[in-house]
Symmetry: C2
Subunit: 212 residues, 2 copies
DNA sequence: CCTACCGATCGGTAGG
DNA sequence: CCTACCGATCGGTAGG
């Protein structure tokens, strides 16, 4: 995807997309002017439009770059995270790590969901359908073997976990204050509880997760 | 709160706030111009500013009206929802009902969280702190009696449930499509699974919830 | 990647 | 609650 990949010098296109992602995530698409984006990148406004045909085109590229990244990153992390908790923990941990390491990712997705429900629905449907089926098939398998609670609704369960991860990461600065003192170790505390809830609500009995 | 309460005729101020809530929720504060708001209300743009000193003042009023409503509505519903599931189900059901009956409420809150983290943190902290303590005290009590799982993190658990409710309601149009065919009964299906997850992750053993 | 510039729309004011 | 109008900024273009 990256044509140059240098730090700050080369790859104007990449620098534009990087700043656009950060700004769109924190202020929203409508809240970011081309002028503000140009300032952040370090060029004049019309120069942006030599790289992208319009402001909307920048948004599309930001979103589709993210979707590409997500689509390859999540399965990869799931594959390498084969610990003692099985496929479930690998999936949830991959999600938590992916969004946790850059909350802007979660904010960007939530904003697209709020700002453009129809467009975003179609995009997510196309990109995530295979992945959803992979996970829900695994859940149904676990149910037939008796390891997973029979009253779990596989698709709805998965979506609830995703919503919980996205919402938690995106809102940790705001909601973390309700926990008590302390800076942002609250993030980890929230994610720990999230994982506990997801695990407890899924498996028939508590796993002795003594593995790696 | 309503000074007149008539259908569409009286209470210009209320009509402005109603339309502003809907528009801010669906397009975001930056995405709604005073002109668009004036059109929706059915008056000219300068007339809006005879009722509110600025666009920002409209936003403040929308948010604080919502906070007032939320603060009185949630405890009220918790009080009257004394079914067989105890305080927990009352709280979660009150939350789910409150946001579920008008998804714009959830969208508005999420947008404020994303758009103005600092301001929103202080506001929610002031408004929700007492309510948070009420619920978490009840959880700790349940833990000491052995009815609630000892590994539950009370504050984090509550926030995760709130995040799940908000995220689910706000995104149901988008994420519901990943469930399968069907219109919006998916909303109920999602909320059912949400409640099941919240309950299972909280109580030591499954409740035979045969009560009302 | 720049200067110079476009019409349209922004939030808001004057004045009645 | 209106008409008329303000300077500033919006996304985008011309032309090099």
């Amino acid at each position: 995807m990256a044509t140059r990949g240098s730090a700050t010098g080369g790859g104007a296109r990449e620098r534009i997309l990087l700043e656009a992602t950060r700004l769109f995530a924190s202020r929203g698409y409508e809240g970011v002017s081309l002028q503000a984006l140009a300032d952040a990148v370090g060029m004049r406004k019309p120069s942006l439009l030599h790289h992208f045909t319009s402001k909307g085109a920048i948004r599309e590229q930001v979103v589709s770059d993210w979707l590409d990244h997500f689509r390859e990153e999540i399965p990869r992390r799931m594959a390498e995270a084969r610990g003692g908790l099985g496929r479930f923990a690998a999936a949830v941990t991959a999600l938590v790590d992916y969004f946790g390491e850059d909350p802007d990712r979660a904010r960007l997705v939530l904003r697209e969901v709020l700002d453009r429900p129809e467009v975003t629905r179609e995009r997510l449907l196309a990109a995530l359908s295979p992945w959803v089926h992979l996970v829900t098939d695994a859940i149904r398998l676990g149910q037939s073997v008796g390891r997973i609670r029979s009253d779990v609704d596989p698709e709805a369960y998965l979506l609830e976990v995703v919503v919980m991860v996205l919402g938690t990461v995106a809102s940790v600065d705001v909601t973390g204050a309700l926990l008590g003192r302390g800076g942002d170790p609250n993030m980890q505390r929230r994610l720990d509880e999230l994982i506990r809830m997801a695990r407890t609500a899924l498996f028939v009995d508590e796993e002795p997760h003594t593995g790696p």
